[in-house]
């Protein structure tokens, strides 16, 4: 049964010529411009105030060299910079590059079908878009990057989002909206030709596999040897199943109700996890080593991707969205209320070296790939094309949703960074150094961290054990991956607001819970999306794969995808060099390479629109991104330093094996040495694959741009213009003229102002 109706003849919509009956579909741009940008004394005072506050905040975190700096300055520096960027830079991009036209109907209007094409209130869509783009990424990257001190990470997160990340999100969203909500892959094929198009699709698939694998690795590392975490996160599966059955059979449509019930159950299992972990049986049952856990996640990923979505995937998504919006607000409020003092150095000893224990490689380029989500995340291009553009009411809203949504994610990254640097530096390094370095014991970790020679750092085994006890874990040594560190930081901040030290273990597992929830949602949704991309691509050669009801095909393609990320996950979990430390750069590089692809597509589109004078808006982030990722890949492939280069390490271990050595570096036996040889081979091969594919796409983008410059462009692939018969204001706050027009529209009967997609084409 279909809910789609196309009955133009019966539609009560007025005919094209009869638009005189309707109020105007847009505010005259000149009027709107005047209202938005006219300088009144109040506005001047406001923006001078914002600029001054932001400036002072930047000085405080960048130059003040006192004992400590208060976390509130990070909030001010970030928020003031975002306001200024949104008001001035994104406005500039709108005026010069995108030039939205509210007289044009959006796909949500002319394709309206009551399903995916559905005009959605801009503020609701903002929340929806944010929940789709933000997850564990912005929470993890900044934590790892804190190794170099807080300043490099803070600058990259804020400057990066303003000039790169938010620009990418906005442009992809806008261009996809002009193309009926087409996906990035489809746009690449249209704009870059067959070679560029296929390279983009293969790159996207490969990159999705690595991203899902590394996210899963983060979860496994956070839950390994943690009965409390395993129990409470494991219980989310029965909770989601219950919610699914509830929504399917008991009370269909009560989404908010079931989400609240799910949330309450979630809190219960977090508390219950503590009791379970305390019992003999519970601790035996739920203390799982990482390899077992990795297999559990692989099994879960497969099952979740082949089960009907109503049973597991969509209820889990409701829960995840509910938690996402809630915890972000909670985290922001906590930082503002508690205002922790930050005592770590602005620029640490490791900023100038390439042998950091958390991730190896020099600040340039590896800081810029370690923090991907929050500053520039290519993965967003997959959401900003395809999903969100089908829901935008008016073209002018794209700036608020695309650019503004990404600013919010950047703010999440800043908060994660603050949480990570608010904990003792010794504890930070003990948690994030690989088990090979710390031996996995408190004594080993204390000895290792103290041997790093960091100023003001002295940890004792008692301090490490005491922290572990406070958060209700057996140990916090070598809990790599970023999630546990963030959880310790968050519990440290939250307990000062709610509950004191006795609540630390609750807050720790609360943080682990939401990170795991976000990641598992990304894992199952990612597997599903990747499976559909694969069936689509295979369908070109074997038409049978196009049939969505062909179960064997669905199972086969799901199995291929799960095998892809599962292999990398197992390699990561068993990696003698620590897993995250060697695999995480691949995650960042992959994500940034996807950004390069997205920006290259945008460049070709903008050039074909003949906006040559303003191409620098795209070229600036594209150039920097290509520079970062190609240098990063280059070093990972060609560096002779085995700490940095995958192939150098591969060669070193191969030679050692050939010489008959039985231990080498941190690998203590032949088996471990063979594992290093294998892993570095996989990592090295993937690096080569990613960088080659991306260079192909970027070169095609540049070729198309040059063609357009010479007047031999492909022209535009935008959908034909359809006159809009609908109106909604553009930004978060409606201007007076927008409000007045909105009022006129509200006075109309619902039938006349609800787009049906029917009478338009």
């Amino acid at each position: 049964m279909s809910t789609t109706h196309r009955h133009p003849a019966e539609s009560p919509q007025p005919s094209q010529g009869g638009s005189a009956e309707l109020p105007p579909n847009h505010v005259t741009p000149e009027v709107l411009e005047r209202e938005q940008t006219r300088w009144t004394p109040l506005r001047i005072a406001l923006w001078v105030g914002i600029a001054l506050l932001g400036g002072v905040a930047w000085v405080m975190i960048a130059f003040a060299r006192g004992e400590s700096v208060n976390a509130i300055w990070f909030v001010f520096a970030a928020v003031c910079s975002y306001f200024i960027a949104y008001r001035f830079y994104s406005k500039f991009i709108e005026l010069k590059l995108t030039r939205p036209d509210d007289r044009r109907a959006t796909p949500a209007e002319y394709h309206a079908n009551g399903k995916d094409y559905m005009p959605t209130d801009r503020r609701v869509l903002y929340g929806h878009h944010f929940a789709a783009i933000a997850g564990a990424g912005p929470l993890v990257g900044p934590v790892l990057a804190a190794q170099m001190g807080y300043l490099p990470g803070t600058i990259w997160i804020i400057v990066g989002v303003i000039l790169a990340g938010a620009v990418q999100d906005y442009l992809v969203l806008f261009f996809s909206m002009r193309r009926g909500g087409r996906s990035l892959g489809q746009m690449a094929r249209e704009e870059l030709g067959v070679v560029g198009g296929y390279a983009a699709i293969v790159a996207t698939l490969a990159i999705m596999i690595i991203i899902v694998a590394i996210l899963a690795l983060v979860v496994v590392n956070a839950l390994g040897e943690s009965p409390w975490g395993v129990f409470s996160v494991g219980m989310t599966i029965p909770i989601a199943l219950f919610m699914g059955v509830y929504l399917r059979y008991l009370r269909p449509g009560r989404v908010m109700e079931v989400s609240v019930i799910g949330f309450v159950l979630l809190m219960l299992v977090i508390v219950a996890g503590g009791w379970v972990a305390d019992t003999e049986l519970g601790s035996q049952l739920f203390t799982l080593d990482r390899v077992t856990l990795a297999w559990c996640v692989i099994g879960y990923g497969f099952v979740a991707a082949v089960l009907p979505v109503w049973l597991l995937l969509s209820p889990r998504d409701y829960l995840s969205t509910f938690m996402k919006v809630g915890t972000i607000l909670l985290l922001a409020a906590a930082i503002v209320v508690v205002r922790p003092e930050i005592t770590v150095p602005a620029v640490s000893e490791f900023a100038g070296r390439s042998d950091g224990p958390v991730f190896t490689g020099s600040l340039f380029p590896f800081l810029f790939v370690t923090i991907a989500c929050g500053a520039l995340s290519g993965f967003h291009a997959l959401i900003a094309s395809g999903t969100t553009p089908k829901m935008i009411e008016k073209e002018r809203q794209a700036r608020f949703i695309g650019y503004g949504g990404m600013l919010m994610e950047s703010f999440v990254a800043i908060m994660a960074l603050v949480a990570a640097v608010s904990i003792d530096r010794g504890i930070y390094f003990a948690m994030n150094a690989s088990p090979a370095a710390t031996m996995g014991t408190v004594e080993g970790a204390a000895a290792f961290v103290n041997s790093l020679g960091l100023s003001g750092v002295h940890v004792t085994p008692e301090l490490l054990q005491g922290t572990a006890d406070a958060v209700g874990e057996e140990t916090i040594v070598s809990r790599t991956g970023g999630a546990p560190t963030l959880a310790v930081g968050l519990s440290h901040i939250m307990q000062q607001w709610f509950g004191g030290v006795s609540m630390m273990s609750f807050w720790y597992h609360f943080a682990i819970m939401f990170e795991a929830l976000f990641i598992l949602t990304a894992v199952d949704a990612g597997t599903r999306v990747a499976r559909f991309m694969l069936t689509d691509t295979l369908g070109n050669f074997f038409p049978r794969f196009r049939d969505v009801n062909w179960r064997t095909g669905a199972w086969l393609t799901t199995a291929i995808m799960v095998a892809g990320w599962g292999t990398i996950l197992i390699l990561g979990v068993t990696d003698p060099l620590g897993g995250i430390n060697t695999f995480y750069p691949l995650f960042g590089i992959a994500n940034q390479l996807l950004a390069a692809i997205a920006l290259a597509v945008c460049l070709a589109i903008a050039a074909n629109l003949h906006r040559f004078k303003y191409l620098w808006i795209i070229m600036l982030p594209l150039l920097f991104d290509v520079l970062v990722t190609v240098t990063g890949s280059w070093q990972k492939i060609f560096s002779s330093d085995p700490k940095v280069g995958y192939w150098a390490n591969h060669g070193a271990f191969k030679d050692a094996l050939a010489q008959g050595k039985t231990s080498f570096g941190t690998a203590k036996n032949v088996e471990a040495m063979e594992a290093v040889v294998r892993n570095t081979f996989v990592q090295g091969t993937l690096s080569v694959l990613f960088v080659v594919l991306t260079i192909v796409v970027v070169v095609m983008g540049v070729v198309e741009t040059v063609k357009a410059l010479r007047g031999r462009g492909r022209g535009t692939h935008e959908d034909p213009v359809v006159e809009s018969r609908f109106y909604a204001p553009s930004g978060l706050v409606a201007m007076p003229s927008e409000k007045a027009l909105e009022k006129q529209w509200r006075a109309l009967p619902l039938e006349q102002r609800t787009p049906t997609g029917g009478g338009h084409h």
Partner: protein, 74 residues
């Protein structure tokens, strides 16, 4: 929702409005208001046939979702 914000200063009823706005926003972000919006859409299309019942609609929607996965980012 804008209405709710404007009236926030009017004591109890202001708070109620604000709360209703917040709930509406939450429902929107979660996608809980889909049926309501479908009814509105159905009415606007002027389609003669009866709209789906709530139960039918959600079942239809869930089955549709099965074939149209939506990505979730990191």
């Amino acid at each position: 929702m804008t209405g709710a914000v404007e009236q926030a200063g009017r004591g109890r009823s202001g708070f109620l409005d604000w709360w209703r706005g917040a709930v509406r926003f939450g429902n929107g972000v979660l996608g809980a208001d889909r049926y309501e919006r479908y009814l509105q859409y159905h009415r606007a299309t002027g389609c003669e046939s009866e709209p789906l019942t709530e139960r039918e609609f959600w079942r239809d929607w869930q089955d549709w979702q099965d074939a149209h996965p939506e990505g979730r980012c990191c």
